[in-house]
């Protein structure tokens, strides 16, 4: 059983005037189904480094939800996590927004894309040319023109060719644009990708 650190999003409760952490509980359940122990990290932590040191984690997941720039606190924490994962060589998985912030971290930017919200579409693999169906909930996609050259796309949308998943050439980083946790059952396709990744085997 491996510990996996999970990032959360922030909401502002206007009644109590408090910032609260928020996490889709499907993420937790999903990681448990894959035999991991999820540990959430709060956006309010003063010293995240000290917290992580105590947890003995073997992977980090940056979760989805909301766009970049809305809550700077969250962006800062997540960028710290990316930096930490690179320094300590801990595999880092970014889901949807998580993938976008990884791209952001490496000085990339995003562009708007239509037909990617609340739908299912086909993606094709760079290596086998096989196609898979995935869900899709995002309004922005990676702008390839300004992408860091160390980022290597591995899955693309079958039709518009936008990047749906990438890995980093040098660091243990994987980004996926779809939400595996939102599937009713665990898909073999996702399971293989994620387990392979956290086992540190090259994709």
């Amino acid at each position: 059983m491996k510990n996996i650190l999970v990032s959360q999003s922030i909401v502002y409760d206007s009644k109590t005037k408090v910032f609260k952490d928020q996490l889709d509980n499907q993420v937790i359940n999903y990681l448990i189904k894959l035999n991991y122990v999820p540990i959430t990290i709060s956006n309010g932590l003063k010293d995240p480094k000290a917290f992580i040191r105590k947890t003995n984690i073997s992977g980090i997941v940056l979760t989805g939800g909301a766009n970049i720039g809305v809550y700077p606190k969250r962006d800062r924490l997540e960028k710290f996590l990316i930096d930490y994962s690179i320094k300590k060589k801990i595999p880092l998985l970014g889901i949807c927004r998580g993938m976008q912030i990884i791209n952001h971290f490496f000085n990339g930017n995003l562009k708007r894309i239509s037909n990617h919200v609340r739908t299912r579409h086909l993606i094709k693999s760079k290596y086998s040319k096989k196609m898979y169906i995935v869900n899709s909930y995002h309004e922005y996609c990676i702008n390839e023109k300004k992408m860091n050259h160390n980022i290597i796309p591995i899955y693309r949308h079958a039709k518009d060719n936008s990047i749906e998943s990438f890995i980093h050439n040098k660091h243990k980083i994987l980004g996926i644009m779809w939400h595996p946790e939102r599937e009713k059952k665990v898909r073999n396709f996702d399971k293989k990708i994620i387990q392979k990744f956290f086992k540190k085997i090259e994709l």
Binding site: R118, T119, R120, H121, L122, K129, K130, M131, Y132, I133, N135, K159, R182, E183, K184, K185, R187
Partner: protein, 1001 residues
């Protein structure tokens, strides 16, 4: 002393062998070739090793080896400084991972400067940490491995010569070598140039390549250097004869006429002069170019003018263009082209295009051949003994050898065969490869295997009756190739099967008076293509009074006839089997008597067919009533309050009962009418003109639509009315991915409304005059019994009219089924392109509730599986007619079937181009129609055309290659008949995947 130093310490970009052992071909590695090139320069070659040096030692090469033991942490300069340089006056420094021409080495050797650096100015692919130069004219501003992208003007090739004093400096550097361990040879050059040693730059242009990950490109480069390739092939090919060639550029010709003329005289007494091109990437553009070539030129005579004539034929006056001289081949009986993998998708198969034209060596490449044959021979389980054609066997043998020797599978080989059945090779070149497509070879082979295993398992099903040979065709009878396409998606094929080929077709036949088929599933799927089981179809055309014994005899005979005369495959009801009683029956009779059918058997057949004729009247009436109910019920069903799933089911049931069944009946009656009319023309009972008049006077729904379109244009009726009536039509009736008219209002309809031809409703005057004779004839010959003239005329006209109308009505149902499927898909988050890969049964079982996130995983897996299968299957080329298992792998492509290039569907305006006209500017975006795939028409590719159709030309002709190179959808060699049909239309659709050309207007 002169010395060559090869730096081979580094890790190779590719594989585990040091790059120096990279095999350029079957026999020689990089080192062998370097040694050979250097043999006149020096015998003192030093190899600096590092990576995997044991492997190098083991090979016991006859050269000096020096190991750079720190190879992993040092760069090329350190390797160089490991060598003792003190006694040399001149050294050549060569990187081990580059391939270059002999010419460049010769130039380098001749240079007298202290430093000579070989560079490449063309096509720089910038990558960090590689070595580049910044130039201003011919002086170096900067050189080294840390240049920025903006500052690179040329690439450092890795080939350098040092002489004299610069060498002395180098020996001094040796003491400091530890300090210099991170420097490369180019950095050394920078130091030397700073010290003001004189230098010279040599540009190799494109004539070099680095051995990198992309091996394909390296192989292509090696083969592209034509002169070397052919010289090498001449030495090492045993199964074919290679004609040598002599090439020179126009520039050389202008400077040095005399020498060239003398060289040619020595070269051969009789030659062919051809145009060629220097630039490999544009090889086809100009090499095949105008294809001016002059054959049988005797070198004793003065042939300067002939060379000048060829030079004049070049389009651009580029002095780098080349002239190619080969000895003219003697006693050639046929010529052709082989592609050793399929153009466009690299499918592992030989595509051989042969033309038997004596003495001609280029009728195939020039696209002018009219009687050429094209063979498809898969590399899977290739067994030469199974190929009966001697020439084919010889060619394949020769090609396999060439592939082996050059270690490359994608070749374009021009050949000829002489009277002694020897294969002569004129040209070998790499096929321009579409780099986007990946090689799926493993998957292809696996699917072949699966398909062949399934064939064995299903053999009884395929044979239909044990005593028959298998016979499958894409075009006979219900013609799936035309209706759902060559590679349909599963939704289209499943609806078609459900509505027609599963059992409705057989029901129709038995109701009409033909034999009842016991196992009525008509279609069989081979690698994504739907084949009609011809045996079943033939059986269903026998009248129902045929006894079992006679049936056996008939079926055996027809089966054999078709496998012998494959070209009959798309006209079996016309020329293979009589399906109704006509005045022409005597001819059939004769044929059957010859085959020893007994008098009784033939008489019985006649009786049965006559009965079928008599049935037509009743059937016509019943069918008309049925389609009327079909039309009435449509709105009832659509407006009913059931859910979509049930509605689809009800629509299918109703469509089968009152739609496709009567349509099938009407189609048969119409067929009988047409065949009677055509027979009458043949026997001069009625004139062709009268027939045409009759056809024009029949009010089919298609004609009505044209009229309505015309009225819309004239503002006589509203657009809304038009759409309301014709909204449901779509190109590709069963294809959910194509839009129907109402979805596509602006595009397709606009074109149709724009300018329909004027439709006159003429009275068939001539027909009215001549018909009486014809009807009397029908009655006296007992083709129809107890019918008066009016009834017969009614049959002839109504059968055709209502065939079209019933089709019009039942496609409404099909359209609704597709629309409802789309609705269901929307609720389940399934867009069109995914729905298209679901069976109609799966769609009926889709959930009706608005399912926010998920359709079941089973469904998803099904779609994924179907899509992946479709993507692989669409690459398989298959014959139009299969008579045995071997036919799936090896077959002749039957003429008249055009060769489709590229895989994008296109729709566009048609432009017929008759002759060369450079200034014709209105071709942009249109589909161009030309007669022959002649390279003379190459200029059309500069006009931004979207598609191309040609009358003649084969799969390997010039135009085919060019279209595939430029990714332009094309249909090459559509044949005389189809060409004339297409010529008269103005908007055309080409669907290469489904092998369809549709004339929209």
């Amino acid at each position: 002393m002169k010395c060559a130093i090869i730096l081979a310490a580094g890790r190779p970009h590719y594989g585990k062998e040091p790059s120096i052992f990279f095999k350029q071909n079957k026999y020689f590695s990089n080192l062998d070739i370097l040694k050979d090139m250097l043999k006149n320069y020096t015998k003192k070659i030093t190899l600096v090793t590092g990576y995997n040096d044991l492997a190098i030692k083991k090979k016991k090469l006859n050269i000096k080896l020096i190991k750079n033991s720190k190879w992993d942490n040092t760069k090329s300069l350190y390797s160089l400084l490991s060598v003792d340089l003190s006694k040399n006056k001149e050294i050549l420094i060569i990187y081990s991972d580059i391939i270059f021409n002999k010419e460049i080495l010769e130039k380098l050797i001749l240079s007298k400067q202290e430093i000579t650096i070989v560079i490449s100015k063309e096509k720089i692919n910038f990558k960090k940490n590689k070595e580049y130069l910044n130039l201003k004219k011919n002086t170096i501003i900067d050189i080294g491995s840390n240049l920025s992208k903006q500052n690179t003007k040329a690439e450092f090739v890795g080939l350098v010569k040092l002489r004299g004093k610069s060498l002395n400096f180098l020996t001094k550097l040796k003491k400091e070598k530890n300090r210099l361990k991170n420097l490369k040879i180019s950095d050394l050059m920078k130091i030397l140039i700073k010290k003001k040693y004189s230098y010279k730059l040599l540009d190799v242009q494109n004539n070099w390549i680095e051995i990198k990950n992309n091996l394909e490109n390296v192989r292509k480069h090696i083969i592209s250097t034509k002169a070397n390739t052919l010289a090498f092939a001449k030495k090492y090919l045993k199964k074919s004869i290679v004609l040598p060639q002599y090439t020179f550029s126009i520039n050389e010709w202008k400077k040095n006429k005399k020498n060239i003329l003398q060289d040619i005289k020595k070269f051969s007494p009789e030659i062919i002069i051809r145009s060629s091109s220097k630039e490999e990437d544009n090889f086809y553009t100009s090499a095949a170019g105008k294809f001016i070539s002059i054959n049988n030129v005797k070198t004793k005579t003065n042939f300067t003018s002939k060379i000048n004539k060829v030079i004049k034929s070049f389009d651009k006056k580029d002095l780098n263009n080349q002239i190619l001289i080969q000895p003219s081949a003697k006693r050639i009986i046929c010529n052709g082209v082989v592609f050793t993998s399929n153009l466009g998708n690299q499918f592992p198969a030989y595509k051989i295009n042969i033309d038997y034209k004596k003495g001609n060596t280029e009728s195939v490449t020039s696209g002018k051949s009219k009687n050429d044959k094209t063979f498809f021979i898969s590399k899977f389980n290739l067994n030469l003994n199974k190929i009966k054609n001697l020439h084919l066997r010889k060619i394949i043998e020769a090609c396999t050898e060439i592939e082996e020797v050059f270690l490359y599978k994608h070749l374009d080989i021009e050949f000829g065969i002489n009277k002694n059945n020897e294969v002569l090779i004129f040209q070998i070149r790499p096929i321009v490869k579409n780099s986007q497509l990946e090689n799926n070879e493993k998957n292809y082979l696996l699917n072949y295997k699966k398909c062949l295993n399934r064939w064995d398992k299903d053999i009884n099903l395929i044979k239909y009756k044990k005593y028959l040979n298998p016979l499958l065709g894409v075009m006979p009878d219900w013609n799936p190739a035309e209706i759902i396409g060559f590679k349909p998606k599963i939704l289209a094929s499943s609806i078609y099967e459900e509505l027609i080929t599963k059992n409705i077709w057989a029901k129709q036949r038995s109701e009409f008076g033909y034999k009842k088929i016991k196992d009525p599933n008509l279609l069989y799927n081979i690698l994504g293509t739907f084949y009609v089981n011809v045996n079943k179809s033939l059986n269903s055309f026998l009248p129902n009074n045929t006894s079992n014994n006679t049936e056996k005899k008939f079926l055996k005979f027809y089966n054999k006839e078709l496998s012998k005369n494959k070209f009959l495959h798309d006209k079996i009801e016309f020329e293979l089997i009589p399906t109704c009683y006509t005045s022409n029956f005597a001819a059939w009779k004769k044929r059957l008597i010859k085959q020893k059918f007994s008098f009784n058997e033939i008489l019985n057949l006649e009786k049965g067919l006559k009965k079928i004729n008599y049935n037509t009247f009743n059937i016509l009436e019943n069918s008309i009533i049925k389609i009327d109910t079909l039309n009435k019920n449509f709105h009832k069903i659509v407006l009913s309050k059931t859910n979509e799933n049930k509605k689809i089911q009800i629509l299918i049931n109703e469509c089968k009962k009152n739609g496709t069944l009567p349509f099938a009946h009407l189609a048969r009656t119409a067929f009988i009418s047409m065949i009677l009319l055509k027979d009458a023309i043949k026997t001069n009972l009625i004139s062709k003109k009268a027939f045409d008049q009759l056809m024009l006077s029949i009010n089919t729904i298609n004609k009505e639509m044209l009229k309505d379109a015309n009225n819309v244009r004239l503002n006589k009726i509203g657009k809304k009315y038009f759409f309301k009536k014709y909204y449901h039509l779509r190109p590709g009736t069963y294809d959910i991915t194509s839009n129907n008219y109402s979805d596509n209002k602006n595009e397709i309809l606009k074109d149709i409304i724009k300018g329909p031809k004027k439709i006159k409703n003429s009275q068939p005057i001539l027909w009215n005059k001549e018909k009486k004779k014809f009807f009397d004839f029908l009655i006296t010959k007992k083709i129809f019994l107890n019918k008066n003239h009016n009834e017969i005329e009614n049959l002839l006209i109504k059968s055709i009219e209502f065939r079209e109308l019933s089709k019009f009505y039942f496609t409404k149902y099909v359209n609704k089924i597709l629309e409802l499927s789309l609705k269901l898909g929307k609720k389940n988050l399934l867009p069109r392109d995914q729905l298209a890969h679901l069976h109609i049964k799966d769609i009926i079982n889709l959930s009706i509730k608005k399912n926010k996130d998920l359709n079941s995983q089973k469904l998803q897996r099904k779609i994924e599986k179907n899509i992946n299968l479709y993507e692989i299957n669409k690459n398989f080329e298959l014959p139009a007619l299969i008579c045995s298992k071997d036919d799936i792998l090896n077959f002749e492509i039957i003429r008249g079937q055009p060769n489709y290039i590229c895989r994008n569907k296109i729709l566009g305006k048609l432009k017929f181009v008759k002759k060369f006209d450079k200034f014709q500017n209105n071709l942009k975006g249109s589909i161009v129609l030309i007669e022959s795939a002649d390279p003379g028409f190459d200029w059309i590719f500069n006009k931004n055309i979207s598609g191309l159709i040609t009358k003649f030309g084969g799969a390997n002709s010039h135009m085919a290659i060019r279209a595939s190179e430029l990714n332009i959808t094309a249909a090459i060699g559509v044949g005389e008949l189809r060409f004339n049909q297409i010529k008269n239309s103005s908007i055309v659709k080409i669907d290469p995947l489904n092998k369809m050309i549709g004339t929209i207007k």
